[in-house]
């Protein structure tokens, strides 16, 4: 008997006593990201909670209206003294243009290896979903976010998220992130910069992933406002 047949036979024999019916298959989840649902109501409290919880992980949160995003991204990278930045193929053309004048910009198509990315200071991306109760940003690696390694190897990640992309809790996010048919996208859930508590349980921010996370929250109700740093 092959290992497969044998293990399945063991499993079926081990569960022969089970009398409960298998759960009916319920296909749930709308499968589209919130940016494609412009009429979804955004609660003010949800946005506040999101900003507060992201900042609680010692990420920097900057809240600006849409027209100030490009300038804010440039300003944040300058303030951090960074020189080079990689941009995903599908990043907002206006933001890429603003970066072009100010930094050494590496397009995603030229970032052919992790070694190349290792020499780059920062990455600027969009995002898929934000979760308020946990302060989480989910990347689904759509063209405005790039391949997974782009947001992993450079030491600073500037991530732009629209207020219409922020949901209240984990269940809402999980159901939005389900692809209705066909393959799931690869997902990266990010809650603050990388961290470890492995040495005497003392928290150290930043081990292998980007040690600096800057979240630019597009908030039509807000003046430019840095929540934490």
């Amino acid at each position: 008997m092959s290992a497969r047949e044998e293990i399945l036979a063991r499993v079926r024999s081990a569960t022969a006593d089970v009398t409960t019916e298998k759960r009916p298959v319920a296909r749930s989840g709308s499968g589209s990201v919130p940016s494609q649902q412009p009429d979804r109501a955004i609660s003010r409290e949800t946005l506040e909670l999101f900003a507060e919880n992201v900042a609680d992980y010692r990420a920097t949160v900057v809240r600006v209206p849409a027209e100030q995003v490009a300038a804010t991204v440039v300003e944040q990278l300058r303030a951090a003294g960074l020189g080079s930045v990689v941009v995903p193929t599908g990043l907002d053309a206006g933001w890429t243009a603003a970066l072009d004048g100010a930094f050494d910009v590496l397009p995603e198509s030229d970032a052919t290896s992790a070694q190349t990315l290792d020499g780059i200071d920062a990455v600027v991306t969009g995002s898929a979903v934000g979760i308020a109760t946990t302060g989480t940003i989910v990347l689904d690696h759509a063209p405005d976010q790039g391949r997974r390694e782009l947001t992993l190897v450079p030491d600073t990640h500037v991530c732009v998220i629209g207020q219409d992309q922020v949901v209240h809790d984990v269940p809402e996010a999980v159901s939005l992130l389900r692809t209705p048919e066909g393959a799931q996208r690869a997902l990266t859930w990010i809650s603050g910069p990388s961290a470890t508590s492995d040495i005497e349980l003392q928290r150290v921010e930043g081990v292998h992933g980007p040690r600096t996370l800057i979240v630019v929250l597009v908030d039509e109700g807000a003046r430019a406002d840095v929540t934490a740093g």
Binding site: R10, T15, V25, V174, H208
Partner: protein
């Protein structure tokens, strides 16, 4: 008739002494006890705070337990569905009956890729099958990339906690081992390294980055494997997981068959339960989800090894199978009064603490000394059940396992003692005689502690014997209410053996008859 074989005890743990012996040794390690106390209490408090933020934690626990039960009760169907989903998305699925088979599959893939090293994400399943040792034997270096696992590996040590495996080491020891060992395996630690945790983490970042950037093959486990979408999930903090899951060309994931979740939506309770229970965070820093091969993004060759290694043996026990719900959060370790004092090594397995006391004898059977003793490594206080995010009734399972051990003739001294106790307690006259003996001894011993009683070796090896009281309740009652009636009645077969008068002795409010 199909049988479900138990797991072979892995070489590291063969011949482990029984728990009380290993525990006594661990108790003498004051550094470890201090570290463990700090760690368990700190995580316990953090966990309580973030669990308190959730409106209905109990409902989440129920949802989590139900999702896992659904998967376990219909595991055959869900495993086939998982295999189908993974294959449709470009992954190659392998099945491994035991540790040796799983290790062989990993080695064969690594050899086919002509590599002499792999990078590893912290994974309980690969620790269980001792993959690193098997790879080394095959001439392939396995680099652990989680900071704590790196520390443990550099020490040539074993992990002592599921979540913070190097908790038994302090920062100075860690600096010393970095300075001594890193150069042996790759980029050396900077010569001016201090014991500041931030500097130590930086040294690990530099040491490991070299390995991440050149590695061709990575090995991981998975926290969850979703049957309907073919998605594997790895939950982590440091980013070493993302490095391993993203940069190499080939990814091999060793996944216990109990890691299956039926549907994508079952992630919703799990991603709320796990981080809050594990690190006491609202969400862990990084979670990676991948479904087979993603075109042009991440590893282009993806292998998944579905591992039995004793799990079907656990599954065959209709009560015991709830232990397979375990999501390895380690909340039960942090609340356990026994674990807090002994640490993880005494459990003789990669699974320590209350869940280890259950899972090890379930997976490996109760033939060895250590597996016979583990069900007794508990005060049955129940804190573990309360903390468990998937409601595993650990005390219930420990009692069941004690029954199994007792039935097969283990703990003979204990069953003899219990029989003797039953004989004494079933007759008030015998009890009165025994108690007179005990109080006499109590007066002689005074405040000293009894550590050993001749003839009760097995019992007193594990615990100090309470010093007998100078006076029993019944003697006190007789002295305070000195009419002699109670003493007399206590010796009377009509009274209860515990000395509490029964209703027909005229002391009931109903008065004389």
């Amino acid at each position: 008739m199909v049988t479900q074989p138990v797991q072979q005890t892995s070489p590291t743990f063969v011949g482990m002494p029984k728990f009380p012996v290993a525990a006594r040794e661990a108790l003498a390690n004051t550094q470890q006890r201090t570290n463990l106390h700090n760690a368990t209490h700190t995580i316990r408090e953090k966990r309580a705070a973030v669990v308190g933020e959730v409106d209905d934690w109990e409902a989440l626990r129920v949802a989590g337990a139900e999702a896992k039960d659904e998967a376990l009760h219909h595991l055959g169907d869900y495993l086939e569905q998982l295999e189908e989903s993974l294959t449709a998305r470009g992954a190659t699925v392998h099945w491994a009956r035991d540790a040796a088979e799983a290790n062989r599959i990993v080695i064969d893939i690594a050899r086919a890729k002509e590599v002499d090293e792999v990078v590893k994400v912290k994974s309980m399943a690969t620790q269980e099958i001792e993959l690193n040792e098997a790879l080394e034997e095959a001439g392939i270096h396995a680099w652990e990339t989680d900071l704590a696992e790196l520390i443990v590996q550099l020490f040539g040590d074993r992990p002592s906690h599921i979540l913070v495996p190097a908790i038994h080491r302090n920062r100075t020891e860690i600096r010393d081992v970095f300075l001594r060992q890193m150069g042996e395996f790759g980029r050396p630690a900077p010569a001016d390294l201090t014991d500041d945790p931030a500097r130590l983490a930086e040294a690990a970042r530099l040491h490991l980055r070299e390995k991440f950037l050149r590695a061709k093959v990575a090995v991981s486990g998975a926290n969850f494997a979703i049957a309907d979408t073919g998605t594997l999930v790895v939950v982590e903090s440091e980013g070493n997981g993302r490095m391993c899951l993203t940069l190499p060309e080939t990814l091999i994931s060793v996944v216990g068959i109990e890691k299956v979740l039926p549907t994508w939506d079952d992630l919703s309770p799990m991603l709320q339960l796990l981080p809050r229970s594990s690190t006491g965070e609202r969400m862990n820093p990084y979670t990676t989800m991948w479904s087979g091969v993603h075109d042009g993004d991440g590893p282009q060759e993806v292998h998944v090894i579905l591992l039995d290694n004793g799990r079907t043996h656990v599954l065959a026990d209709s009560v015991g199978r709830q232990a397979l719900r375990c999501i390895r959060c380690s909340a039960c370790l942090n609340v356990c009064p026994v674990y807090e004092r002994t640490g993880g090594h005494a459990y003789g397995s990669v699974y320590p603490g209350p869940i280890g006391a259950v899972l090890n004898p379930q997976l490996r059977g109760t033939a060895s000394e250590v597996d016979q003793s583990l069900p007794y490594a508990s005060s049955l206080c129940g804190a573990c059940f309360d903390a468990c995010p998937v409601r595993i009734n650990i005390p219930e399972l420990l009692v069941e396992l004690r029954g199994t051990v007792a039935e097969q003739g283990g703990h003979r001294a204990e069953s003899a003692a219990m029989k003797a106790a039953a004989w004494v307690l079933s007759d008030p006259r015998r009890l009165a005689v025994a108690q007179r003996g005990a109080t006499t001894a109590g007066r002689l011993i005074g405040k000293r502690t009894i550590r050993k009683v001749p003839g009760l070796g097995a019992w007193t090896d594990a615990r100090d014997v309470p010093t007998p009281p100078k006076e029993t309740f019944r003697q006190w009652w007789a002295r305070e209410h000195g009419d002699g009636t109670t003493t007399q009645r206590a010796a009377d077969p009509g009274g209860r053996a515990d000395g509490i008068p029964t209703s027909n002795d005229g002391t009931e409010p109903g008065g004389e008859r």
